[in-house]
Assembly symmetry: D2
Homo-oligomer: 285 residues x 4
């Protein structure tokens, strides 16, 4: 996970000459392209591109990039953003009672596999306080009841703002976020759902899976949108099960899936490898 | 696939002493158990067992088994059946236009991987006649329109009866069977659905999958019941896809899944490895 | 993971009537069989069986079982052992510097996914002392140099003996154990090797894999024998890689494999699901 | 599989400005880039690129491309080739007795999944003549004994030359090719080996796998080089096995792997998605 690169992400209508223009711009500014990925959706005609540029020797920086780039962006009608690897992203984690996902993320962070800052973990229960604080990360308890949902959400948002958080991970956070909350972090809230979506959306997916008698269980990480479990999918994985597997076995096997699927989605987000188009993702891995 | 074994399949309420009684019965009749598998559903208290007995030396046969066995069956309230490997199952295949599943099944049959007889393949189109006849198997064309659904089904059933078919495989047969048809072959019609059920049931699952932006596609083989795509699942498998995969790529990758998933389900059925309980299967593989 | 069951593991020459005798014995002693698995190796004629018996109501216990069982064991020439679920196994973990496997095992243990006692973790480096002690488990530092190998091993063995350890997990322990050490825990030392054995045995398997240009990496857990990386394999798994994956990526992806593969092998061992025959395992999962 | 594109494949030392130069060249010649993939090997400093250009509107063709392109190729010291989709590749298949791989390839070809011409299949046995001819493809029987190896190979080569073959697929061809033969088709002979190489290279890999007691079997497709089973790997896949699987089960399960792995490698080759560097492949899929 290179701290010494800039990643330029582009969406625009497909046209001849985009790659040449982008690559020409970078070379004109003495940049070296480490990775360039592009994709054209044949149905919508949209063009997507991710370019990773070595910062060493590159003639532009956070202050000068926009002005220099504006010409090309305008010419092709681009929606774009650039991430500077030097600016480490700040990740908040929201939890309830289950520890496997948050423990896994914090372990990866403490082992420098995930290059982020983790200013705060917020829990609507306080069960995981010790686990989180054991990693030297602040834990904030924000309990919630049916009646206090709105005020609790407001308080959580305040914590995230104070912590200057860039994106939010729902590590088995058992609360549905309001559209107002989601709007604060568009395509920047990552959820893990413990089923192979769109199968078994909603509550108790392992119960649903066990009931239906499927032969595989899955896990899905996706960006959160206003519609529950309907946001753009980032990573999915499945694992075989059989008639001997009880509900508890499904939950146990599922944990191993969930933490890997969520960690992968977080890694892809942190490395700016995901573009969202409508309700789909383009993942340049 | 042993032709020289008998397979005894048992369902009954769980109780102490079932295995001892079954194993004792077999040894008393000079039988050798090659495989014995059992399962107890902790929720329903149902007990399931499959025993595969070497025919060589076994003191019972098709004519004498039932009477000898009745005592134990009664004592434990068993639902049971026994399959004699010497009696090769007769499989019919129903097709429409897609060739990959039927070609694969016929290839396995001709290479003696699938130990069945294939008296007939029925198509509601005649596109696959040459393929089927190239394997030396009779092809019967039974075209259908919206108006002729009932009479066509009756004719198909007649063909299957004449061919003395034991079970039916829907190898991408694009017609919904009526409850009356299904009732003729309970837990003996195997379908392949080109999605990871219960996701994307019904028509055009690859279109639905592409639309939803999933990162895996799947295939599901199941027994056909009155409710479309809701029958007991036998085998499921998934394969990764990405944003570059067009609908055509999904269809292509799906074909490789479908034929393997269907062939596995057929093999399990032929070897009498599947017990159905409610809407689930117990698969003793 | 049932604490309230006994697991009887049997190896003997195949013969008619074994299952009937075993099941009859259990029913005669008022036991209820929860699971019964058996396997006959068609090449060697060896018969293997695992029976899991509910303790509630069973008429035998640790003191009375052997005498009652001796008749059947002798009659069929059985090698056998019985594990009483009430007797929780004591697991030691040996580590060097890598934390992912030991952290994962301790996490599973602390979340009661792994029903064992962990009296001690021994490290030839002290880097992981905090991690281990954070879980409330004793960490013993036993440094080693080329010259002190023998005496260090003796000291480690002493620690294990004092801790009354039942089995040992090498959680990326970067030392080769002597035959004398291995002989103390036959089929009771579980190693995780970071390749798909037998490919890339020995040192630096990810380097070897990267060098060879394979398209999958693997992990293998196996019982330790006198020959390095040659012991009976318990669990193996692979994951896809591509040309973009650097050696660091292989190591990162491999970690996710290793901890799941090792945890599975440990679970199977703890639940007495593994029988060893020559250099192979029979795994009744 | 686009017939209406050109694919430009480039290898050269990494340098700033390559992508800009290539993309600029294409836009200057009124070409539209459909896909552009690139990779830099951080160890060797080699740069690899694949560009797929829409032929419609492109100002260059087979006759004019080289001269126009020479400037850029020289400037960056490129090794390069261009494939014109209009020129359908001619594939020969070499077989012995096993039918699953050749049947699968011919099925894909006849269903237009594989866009190639298949002028000839050569067998050192004549067992598969009917299968091949059933697809309307010429079968040439070229028997071989230990004594006639050299002359047989010469005859096979002659057949391939007459058929103006572009590349050769060894679909379970049980003969080792001489270096002289291999030299005629460098990186253009694709083999399927029925193991997860480098494990179980050489003869009877399923026997070796069964003997070793592995828990997965694999299949590997690779380009043939002078060293047996040592060539650059294109595709690998594995599937789980267990103690119940006999050698025959391994062979059966392996067939399903082999045909998918080989078909994928052939597809990648036909679509010009593979670059070879030393003993590794870069696969732009």
């Amino acid at each position: 996970m290179a701290l010494d690169t800039a990643r330029l992400l582009i969406t625009c209508p497909d046209a001849k000459g985009i790659i040449a223009a982008v690559a020409g711009f970078i070379v004109d500014n003495h940049g070296n392209i480490l990775y360039a990925d592009q994709h054209t959706d044949p149905l919508t005609g949209e063009f997507f591109m991710r370019v990773e540029i070595e910062l060493a020797g590159f003639g532009l920086d956070e202050e000068t990039f926009s002005a220099a780039w504006a010409g090309i962006a305008d010419r092709f009608g681009m929606t774009w953003r650039v991430h500077w690897g030097t600016k480490v992203k700040r990740m908040a984690i929201l939890v309830t009672k289950e520890s496997h996902c948050v423990s896994d993320l914090l372990w990866r962070w403490s082992n420098r596999e995930l290059m982020v800052d983790v200013p705060v973990v917020v829990g609507n229960h306080d069960l995981l306080a010790d686990t989180v604080e054991g990693y030297g990360v602040e834990f904030r308890h924000q309990p919630v009841t049916r009646k206090t949902r709105e005020t609790q959400e407001a308080r959580v948002l305040e914590v995230l703002r104070e912590a200057e958080v860039d994106f939010v991970v729902l590590a088995r956070y058992m609360q549905v976020l309001s559209p107002a909350f989601v709007a604060e972090y568009p395509a920047r809230i990552i959820n893990i759902h413990h089923s192979f979506l769109p199968a078994f959306a909603g509550a108790r997916p392992y119960h649903q899976a066990h009931e239906r008698g499927v032969k595989l269980i899955g896990a899905t990480s996706h960006y959160v949108t206003d519609e529950l479990d309907q946001g753009p999918i980032i990573v999915q994985q499945t694992t075989p099960i059989g008639h001997r597997d009880t509900l508890d076995d499904l939950i146990r096997k599922g944990r191993d899936l969930e933490r890997v699927v969520l960690a992968n989605a977080v890694r892809l987000h942190v490395q700016d490898r995901i573009l969202v188009s409508g309700n789909k993702t383009i993942v340049f891995d």
